[in-house]
Symmetry: C2
Subunit: 146 residues, 2 copies
DNA sequence: CTAAGTGCAAAAGGTTTGCGTCGTT
DNA sequence: AACGACGCAAACCTTTTGCACTTAG
């Protein structure tokens, strides 16, 4: 469904092409896991040094529109992009900033529930949940006792 | 727990004060529900026209640190701030951009699970879930049939 | 008097836009 | 020739920082 060939033809239908730059951006996102546009850019430039950051942004937008990559806002800074097939849930601690990744199985029930009650199809492939991690909760508890 | 008095004393312990500007920012966030720093600024300036956007950012940071407000990234643009007591889950459709709000009850099971399995205390008060809403799913299905 | 808080201007990200050029079809 | 894609530079928007001034304790 999202192999090289059908990707090419999807683009072709729209009068677009799979250029080397776009391929490099897609590869970079897949290899890096999560990466900011900046990081993707550096990676791509490792292979093709003249590729401009503007092209990175345009390619990321296109690839996202095609459903091949997705971006998420972890923390405060720039968003991070990752490949659609790279599935997991982020547990982001808003106290220490740590980000854990856990399986999307966790959300199966919630998914079912949302669909049944609201007709909403949750995209569980790339979700960020914020809260407090075990360490910070312990630290908080210790502080409380003082 | 978070009434005026204890807020004042919490700040006082840290050698800080509840200034008119900070109060206005907090009020604005509470009144606006979800608002970008920009929107908060305009609201505050309705009452005190000289307040600078820098002060808005600093106040929002402080209030967030105190746990009185929280920010979320809905969609692409600027983050939106809202008061901690304003509890709900956002269902954000990444196709049409609509944002629904539903009760946090939905997450009770997930909360329990996360805590038990990972020691992670989910902050369910202000969560954004992305996916596809009923309308867009129907539209997609119709398109598929063509 | 001291330190916190503010406003202002400038800097620093991060992202988008306009435009001239190049390569495909 | 026509159009999509690219690179470059500049514009833009949002957020942060440095600094001098004010003000509450």
């Amino acid at each position: 469904m999202s192999d090289q060939g059908s990707l090419r033809s999807t683009l072709h239908q729209r009068g677009m092409r799979m250029t080397p730059q776009r391929q490099l951006v897609l590869d970079a996102v897949r290899e890096l896991g999560h990466a900011t546009p900046e990081q993707v850019c550096r990676r791509v430039q490792g292979t093709a040094s003249t590729v401009n950051i503007t092209t990175i942004y345009r390619a990321l937008d296109l690839l996202e529109e095609l459903g091949l990559v997705r971006h998420t806002h972890l923390g405060h800074g720039a968003p991070t992009y990752s490949a659609e097939e790279h599935e997991h849930v982020h547990l982001a601690c808003h106290r220490c900033g740590t980000i854990d990744e856990v399986s999307t199985d966790l959300l199966d029930d919630l998914c079912r529930d949302l669909l049944a009650r609201f007709g909403f199809a949750l995209d569980a492939t790339h979700l960020a949940l914020s809260g407090t991690c075990r360490n910070c909760r312990n630290a908080d508890a210790a502080e409380e006792r003082r």
